[in-house]
């Protein structure tokens, strides 16, 4: 089924980003929903769908957000791992099939003030060996990449450095201190070959989007941003083969999104990659065909992804410099770039088409292409 241009994003919003002790994920979610409604000039009774994204602590499910939302829409769902991509895909399906017409998608989290332990693991041979935290498997993948392709840290560091350059142009970004590639290389390792700067920050906050049918979208004040293509793939059977950490499922998602839309990498004006670590950037710029296989870091070092480059990547500052938010703010930024409404020093001129790629750790991958022309 061709879904091109049938659904549009008409509102985006978010809470403040940072550390908010005493604020629950659900409270923050309501702030974000309020902000998205204001952006779309809507009231909550005009929504007939609610899709929430669980926080890592397992909160923020639809029936927890519902009582504060104060409305029972005809359609409500929760995704365990939205990354905004899966949430947008579900909303697209709900709207096309008529289950709902105008849906709010929301993610909220208080993992920072809640002091969530991202290294927690049930005692096992691996955890007893000290193999904990997502930085472990990500660093294994990077080390393998270095050995196979000669990838250099002074090239790989440009993913983190470029995101910081964008973050300095984004008032919402939490990490704005200048960082050159030399500064980066002088930082200590966290899990070698990864540095702290290659790994996401943890922050509290919430993000919401409002999605509706293309017919309705024309009635809203903002320039509609249409969903032009969606694709997903998985490796839910888990770690059963030796190249598992290289995540071949991403290549399958990439092939699918290009095939289904007819677009090619050179059509994309702005690129967004959800990134708990910079290894995700490296793997995805290669898997989606922006850089030759094995050459993602060298390609990044050429400056394509920096402010002024020909393929701006994570213009919000990404998860390395803007905020945690599991990639949700990447989608918000993509929408604002396509509307042409971000701060002038961050605005990518004539941005009409954006690709947002995300993954659920090593187990699933998803992509959406959104644009201003249905």
């Amino acid at each position: 089924m061709d879904i091109r241009g049938k659904v549009a994003i008409v509102g985006v919003g978010h809470s403040d980003q940072g550390t908010f002790p005493g604020k629950t994920a659900e409270q923050l979610s309501i702030k974000a929903i309020q902000s998205a409604l204001e952006d779309a000039e809507l009231t909550k009774d005009q929504l007939d769908g609610l899709i929430t994204c669980k926080s890592i602590q397992g909160n923020n499910i639809d029936i927890q957000v519902g009582p504060l939302f104060g409305l029972s829409p005809r359609y409500a769902q929760t995704l365990d791992y939205g990354t905004c991509n899966y949430s947008l895909h579900l909303a697209t399906q709900a709207i096309i099939t008529g289950l709902a017409e105008t849906v709010v998608l929301v993610y909220g989290a208080n993992a920072r003030s809640g002091k969530f332990n991202f290294s927690a693991a049930a005692p096992s041979l691996e955890s007893a060996s000290g193999f904990v935290h997502v930085a472990g498997p990500a660093a294994l993948a990077l080390q393998r990449h270095k050995a196979l392709y000669g990838t250099k840290e002074e090239d790989f560091g440009w993913f983190a450095v470029s995101e910081r350059e964008w973050a300095q142009r984004n008032p919402l970004a939490i990490f704005q201190d200048p960082m050159t590639i030399d500064d980066y290389l002088a930082k200590p390792y966290l899990v070698e070959p990864l540095r702290r700067e290659d790994v996401t920050m943890i922050s509290d906050g919430a993000v919401a989007l409002i999605v509706t049918s293309a017919e309705r979208a024309k009635d809203y004040p903002n320039k509609p941003v249409y969903v032009l293509g969606i694709a997903e793939n998985t490796e839910v059977a888990g770690d059963t083969f030796d190249d598992f950490l290289m995540r071949p499922n991403i290549k399958r998602t990439a092939a699918e999104i290009w095939k289904r839309t007819g677009f090619t990498p050179s059509d994309i004006d702005v690129l967004y990659i959800q990134n708990p670590t910079a290894v995700w950037n490296l793997q995805m710029v290669e898997a989606y065909g922006f850089a030759p296989e094995g050459q993602g870091a060298a390609w990044a070092a050429e400056g394509h992804i920096r402010p002024g480059g020909d393929l701006p990547l994570n213009t919000n500052g990404g998860q390395l410099s803007e905020s945690y938010m599991w990639g949700w703010l990447h989608m918000v930024e993509a929408v604002r770039q396509l509307r042409g409404t971000v701060e002038p020093d961050r605005q990518v001129p004539n941005a009409e088409l954006a690709l947002y790629c995300s993954t659920m750790t090593f187990l699933k991958s998803a992509a959406s292409i959104i644009g201003v022309n249905p």
Binding site: S129, G130, A135, G136, A139, Q143, P188, V191, E192
Partner: protein, 135 residues
């Protein structure tokens, strides 16, 4: 034997007890499906290939190849703070099963695709952890 260390896995769970009993004798094992022959680590209750529950543990080759390795410079698990920096490797054994465990190799000597063989860390009276060292 070294003194008791925190966060060691339970060795008395029916699914995994044979692995830990063999490890105590410094023998590397993996779970094998007695119907289709699928060989795997970690263990599963049902064979993912044929869905048989007829499974047992068999000795496998202690030799393998280093797929990749990393060095933990920060104690992301605070109970390991006296052990940093430490090195963890993903090792594909010659019989197939993959283990991601501590290496008895210095970061300077570690190299992707190097040959390794199992070595053993008797963590306490109950738990022996497999590691890998230069073959």
């Amino acid at each position: 034997m070294s003194s008791h260390r925190p966060n060691l896995p339970a060795t008395d769970q029916p699914l995994t007890a044979p692995f830990w009993q063999a490890a105590k004798k410094h023998v590397l094992t993996a779970q094998k499906c007695l119907d289709c022959g699928d060989l795997r680590y970690p263990a599963l209750e049902i064979c993912p290939r044929c869905w048989s529950t007829n499974q047992d543990w068999v000795e496998i080759s202690p030799n393998g190849t280093l797929w990749s390795y990393v060095v933990y410079h920060r104690a992301l698990d605070p109970s390991k703070k006296n052990e940093i920096p430490y090195i963890v490797g993903r090792v594909q054994t010659d019989d197939g099963p993959v283990f991601t465990v501590r290496l008895d190799v210095t970061p300077e000597d570690a190299e992707v695709d190097m040959r390794l063989t199992a070595s053993w860390d008797d963590a306490d009276d109950e738990v022996t952890l497999v590691r890998f060292t230069t073959a």
